[in-house]
């Protein structure tokens, strides 16, 4: 049994060898902190069968996979990576081949998002740790990628995740972190919409935004698609990872204001004030008190707010958002939808590229690229 008690949180997480356990909570509640504590990368207690894990730090017993696959590789293909790892400790090449199939030798950077995650998980599973801790393994992955990943999560896994509808199907038990307290909850609670809303978790569909539609702002033919956006309208581009949603938005650069997936790559100034460049917009979006802060130091929800504020401060009439809800918890999701209301009320139109089924309700028009 692995027992984790992170410093700064009350309560503990227990993980048995033969179970899959969910760890849920709002953004910044301490999910990643708990995983790092288990690995002794953070203060707190990590015990295995009543012995401190930090004394041995034997990563063949406890290991982890974090959210961003791009920075969790040691070579360009899983085959090569395992050859490198095998110089340090035994790896089961056959298991990794089974998990990755024909993509075992494929260049990592040519894999789909689902297979990139599968690569990093397979890499860790190939040395068969007793306990695997997974930090948001399903973030920003389409339905196909989700089933690819869900299919290889072994017993002895702790899964920290925002996408409740995906994990509630595969876990045996669950913990929620709320107000600095870790609490075990019944799995049924993950199906209870009221509970999810009350705890700021995802897993419910958001309500439609009621706005008047005005004149046409954009009418273009791009990649064989006629894309028309009116004032107060939300047009959604849906389709699997790699179906061309991002490419379509990129091809509209210059005609629209586009906000892409990694906010950190889209900040060019040291403070929020310089990034947004307009006091009134900052006040309207509740960013004025953060104006002296670095945009890089904000939470994911706040970063999205800064990017949307920059869009509102610009002259562009159509704002496009590429997978904007990927890292948002329930509270931030509701706040994001309210923010979209402000964008629509300023006589603008919105394009959203997404495969998040929880926000499909807000779309006025859906274009499927698959």
């Amino acid at each position: 049994m692995l027992v984790i008690s992170p410093k700064g949180l009350t309560g503990k997480i227990e993980l048995g060898e033969n179970e899959r356990v969910a760890l849920v909570g709002r953004s910044g509640s301490g999910k990643t902190l708990s995983i790092k504590t288990a690995l002794c990368l953070n203060s707190g207690l990590s015990m295995i069968d009543d012995k401190s894990f930090c004394e041995t730090q034997d990563f063949s017993i406890v290991n982890a996979v974090f959210q961003e696959p791009n920075t969790q590789i040691l070579s360009t293909s899983l085959e090569e990576e395992l050859k490198l790892i095998s110089r340090y400790h035994p790896v089961d090449l056959e298991l990794a081949k089974q998990l990755m199939g024909k993509y075992f030798t494929r260049d990592f950077f040519k894999l789909s998002d689902g297979y990139k995650r599968r690569y990093v998980i397979s890499s860790v599973l190939s040395f068969e740790p007793k306990y695997v801790l997974l930090d948001e393994p399903f973030a920003n992955v389409d339905r196909e990628g989700t089933s690819l990943i869900a299919g290889i999560i072994p017993r002895g896994s702790l899964i920290a995740e925002h996408r409740i509808p995906v994990i509630r199907e595969i876990v045996d038990r669950a913990y929620v972190i709320e107000d600095g307290r870790i609490e075990e909850i019944k799995k049924d609670k993950l199906f209870d919409e009221d509970f999810l809303r009350k705890n700021g978790l995802r897993g419910f569909k958001v309500d439609k935004i009621d706005t008047d539609k005005g004149k046409e702002l954009l009418n273009v033919n791009v990649r064989g698609i006629n894309l028309r956006v009116r004032e107060g309208e939300i047009v959604c581009l849906v389709g699997r990872n790699g179906s061309g949603k991002t490419t379509l938005i990129k091809s509209l650069a210059g005609k629209i204001y586009a906000i892409f997936q990694n906010p950190d790559l889209q900040f060019f100034y040291e403070t929020v004030e310089r990034e947004v460049g307009d006091d009134e917009t900052m006040r309207k979006l509740g960013l004025y008190k953060l104006r002296e802060r670095s945009p890089y130091a904000l939470s994911y929800g706040e970063k999205m707010r800064v990017l949307i504020a920059s869009a509102l401060a610009s002259k562009y009439k159509v704002v496009a958002l590429d997978e904007p809800t990927a890292g948002l918890d329930g509270v931030n999701l509701i706040s994001f939808v309210e923010l979209l209301g402000s964008v629509l009320n300023s006589k603008r139109g919105v394009i959203i590229a997404t495969h998040d089924e929880e926000i499909i309700n807000i779309c006025d028009k859906i274009i499927n690229l698959s």
């Binding site: 974090f66 920075t71 360009t76 490198l84 100034y269």
Partner: protein
């Protein structure tokens, strides 16, 4: 095609020597068929063309070997990254080779960061010099993540494996030797 680190070093050394001792045109051209990403080739042809034009119109055409030499070294990094078997680096250099093996794996990621940031800055009409801030922030974050990955995956006692020689090694060595000879024979 994958070659071991020793072969890779011989090949890179042969072309580097050819680049230093000659005008670097032949070794640069010899690297082109080995580059798999078309976009790199297109960008390099553009760079070479522009630099030759500038040198010609500023009456400093005799500087042209420096343009070819610079791009030759960039290409040798790409080739080393693409063709060298990363595990063989640690077999030759021991644990000291791990950072080199890992660094060679990350060039596609680094180029994608730079490409994305430049695109976003142009889309928002930002000053091009502003791109350094997000690139540096992202690199620092990435290095932290890679350090954790390195610790989580490479635990235990290190042991070397024997270097294997395959037909690919012979082909690449012959290609490097032929390029070196041609660079001296054809005085371009």
């Amino acid at each position: 095609m994958r070659v071991n680190f020793v072969t890779g070093i011989f090949f890179v050394s042969a072309l580097t020597a050819a680049g230093i001792l000659t005008t670097a045109v032949i070794p640069f051209l010899a690297t082109i068929p080995l580059i798999r990403r078309k976009i790199i080739i297109i960008v390099e042809i553009a760079i070479i063309s522009i630099s030759l034009l500038i040198l010609y119109y500023t009456s400093r055409f005799y500087f042209y070997p420096y343009s070819f030499r610079g791009l030759l070294y960039v290409n040798l990094y790409f080739i080393a990254s693409e063709y060298i078997d990363k595990a063989s680096i640690v077999d030759v250099l021991g644990e000291a080779g791990v950072p080199i093996a890992v660094a060679l794996s990350y060039y596609p990621y680094l180029t994608s960061i730079v490409r994305d940031v430049v695109f976003y800055s142009r889309a928002r009409k930002k000053n091009v010099f502003r791109v350094t801030l997000p690139i540096i922030v992202q690199l620092v974050k990435s290095v932290q993540d890679i350090w954790i990955t390195y610790n989580l995956k490479l635990f235990g006692n290190f042991r070397k494996d024997k270097i294997k020689i395959t037909s690919s090694e012979i082909v690449l060595l012959l290609y490097g030797f032929a390029t070196l000879c041609l660079s001296f024979l054809l005085k371009v």
